[in-house]
């Protein structure tokens, strides 16, 4: 599990099946499939009421999707990307009924996106069950242009939108599902500190 002394960073409590839920709505990406398998395998009562959305991403070669399909889920959507998964998730959330429990598993930026989608549909963020799996790469929001840079493993990092060299601060927004990036050389123009590998 991801351990951090960053106060604003969420604690991911793990993917525990809520037996009282009428519908399990599960979003997973990459290695997050392993968390779904661990939680739902052998739970026929739960899988019969489960909708799983899965984006294989970097784990495409691992065949996790086939293992998920073998769970006997009520519904499994294998999506080509995180973005299309979130689009589908929003559609499902828009018609979700009382008793739906939302779950998210995968890298931190993905969990943040799922939580943000849930919150936008009135789901209390504290009720969402989450498990971190896979890379420690961060999703970073540039505080200057508000653009998101994905899969950040070094600091400073170049904003993929405005090109400013960003120091990745240890400050995380659940609403945005991202860490904050702030200009690293505003006080020393032209100087670029060497990038340090921090969160691989």
């Amino acid at each position: 599990m991801l351990v951090s002394n960053i106060k604003s960073r969420p604690v991911y409590g793990g993917l525990k099946v809520d037996d009282a839920a009428r519908r399990h709505l599960v979003a997973a990406e990459g290695e997050g499939a392993l968390a779904v398998l661990a939680a739902f395998a052998g739970r026929a009562e739960a899988t019969a009421r489960a909708t799983v959305l899965y984006a294989p991403g970097g784990s495409a070669g691992e065949d996790h999707a086939a293992k998920l399909a073998a769970l006997g889920l009520d519904d499994l959507f294998v999506m080509p990307s995180q973005a299309t998964l979130i689009t589908r998730l929003n559609v499902i959330l828009a018609t979700a009924t009382m008793g739906t429990r939302l779950y998210a598993a995968g890298v931190e930026g993905f969990i943040g996106s799922v939580v943000a989608a849930g919150m936008a549909h009135g789901v209390d963020q504290a009720s969402i069950r989450t498990e971190h799996r896979g890379s420690l790469a961060r999703r970073v929001q540039c505080v200057h242009c508000k653009g998101m840079t994905e899969n950040v493993t070094v600091s400073p990092v170049v904003c993929s939108h405005c090109g400013i060299q960003l120091l990745v601060r240890d400050h995380f927004s659940r609403r945005l599902g991202a860490f904050q990036g702030v200009s690293v050389n505003a006080e020393t123009p032209g100087e670029i500190p060497p990038a340090e590998e921090l969160y691989a």
């Binding site: 960053i6 106060k7 604003s8 960073r9 919150m119 504290a126 929001q141 505080v143 200057h144 508000k146 400013i164 601060r169 240890d170 400050h171 995380f172 927004s173 659940r174 609403r175 945005l176 904050q180 702030v182 200009s183 505003a186 006080e187 020393t188 123009p189």
Partner: protein, 346 residues
């Protein structure tokens, strides 16, 4: 008493300055010769006449120019004002709190007439005359929180209370000391204070949160916070840090007295009656070093505070590049004489 409003700028040519009266009423934040974090919350009771805490909402000579600066910030970056949909009742609570207080304590400048839900608001310094229906946002030219805070000095956050925590679910923030409302929106009390060093381990935030969750209606509280800013710039936002950060490298022994400012936040918190939310107001006061040393006690004391500040705080407050130059300047105004206890000038 009529306030003479100044015409001045907080950007570009930086014509901001304090009159001698404004210097005397500056909310100097150090009651002794050293500084460390403390919860330092007290009842928001009326302070001495003419002081910054004489009235719950303080309007001063910078009012008109500060409101002009706020409008410029919002025009360039509308994300400085945000409100989640469930905060609309708290927005109206804020309209009532600010209009009532401003009209009561500054009747020569502001007038509020209430006839049931039909309200009539007159703001003479900004030449506004508005009739509206309280509770009906369609009767104002913009949403209620934005409407009233475009006419009141200070940043304002509206904190929702649920799950034994406070949540930053609305706010207007244009005069901030390097924090982003857009980034912190929706965070709880512990989360938005995440980047503050030392204080978490001291238990400061646990105690402060416990205190605030029990805040009672009609019993507002306040505290002072401080940092230092190069040039009298209100908008020291992270959003624009790539533009203003360079200012910190421009301090020299020749210009330090005019360029370096003590920046004090008078933070106050009120429980709101309809929404049970909390208003968190952050009112920024700026004073140049050369203005500050006209009060001998403050010159001596700030020299000692700044000289002995823990290194983590020097970094966190962004003082690293100009602290030494400022300490050297203030040293010339510190004869080593003892200072009297308390905040106020001798």
């Amino acid at each position: 008493m009529t306030i003479q409003f100044k015409n001045e700028t907080f950007r570009d040519d930086f014509t901001f300055s304090n009159s001698p009266e404004a210097i005397r009423r500056f909310p100097f934040p150090f009651d002794k010769d050293q500084y460390m974090y403390a919860v330092n919350i007290e009842q928001h009771m009326p302070g001495p006449a003419k002081s910054a805490t004489e009235f719950p909402i303080d309007i001063d000579e910078h009012y008109v120019s500060e409101m002009r600066d706020r409008a410029l910030v919002l025009k360039a970056d509308p994300l400085r004002c945000q409100s989640l949909p469930h905060m609309i009742t708290a927005e109206w609570d804020l309209v009532e709190l600010l209009m009532e207080s401003m009209a009561k304590h500054y009747p020569e400048h502001f007038t509020l007439t209430r006839d049931g839900d039909r309200w009539h608001w007159i703001n003479r310094p900004l030449e506004i005359d508005q009739t509206f229906t309280f509770g009906d946002a369609a009767t104002l030219p913009c949403p209620p929180m934005e409407y009233v805070t475009r006419q009141c000095q200070g940043d304002f956050c509206l904190l929702d209370q649920r799950n034994d925590n406070l949540w930053m679910d609305a706010g207007i923030v244009t005069t901030q000391a390097d924090w982003s409302l857009d980034f912190d929106m929706g965070m709880n009390f512990m989360e938005w204070h995440g980047p503050v060093p030392l204080a978490h381990d001291m238990g400061v935030f646990d105690r402060a949160l416990k205190f605030l969750l029990n805040l009672q209606q009609g019993r507002p509280v306040r505290r002072l916070n401080w940092t230092m800013t190069v040039n009298p710039r209100l908008d020291t936002s992270p959003e624009n840090y790539h533009k203003w950060g360079i200012d910190r490298t421009t301090v020299t022994p020749e210009n330090v007295g005019n360029k370096v400012h003590l920046r004090v936040e008078l933070q106050a918190l009120w429980r709101l009656p309809r929404s049970n939310a909390i208003v968190f107001s952050i009112r920024c006061y700026l004073i140049k070093m050369e203005e500050l040393v006209t009060i001998p006690k403050w010159g001596r004391r700030l020299h000692r505070v700044l000289r002995d500040l823990p290194p983590e705080l020097v970094d966190y407050k962004g003082l690293t590049r100009f602290r030494d130059t400022t300490v050297d300047y203030l040293a010339r105004h510190d004869d080593g004489a003892p200072t009297s206890p308390g905040f106020f000038p001798d």
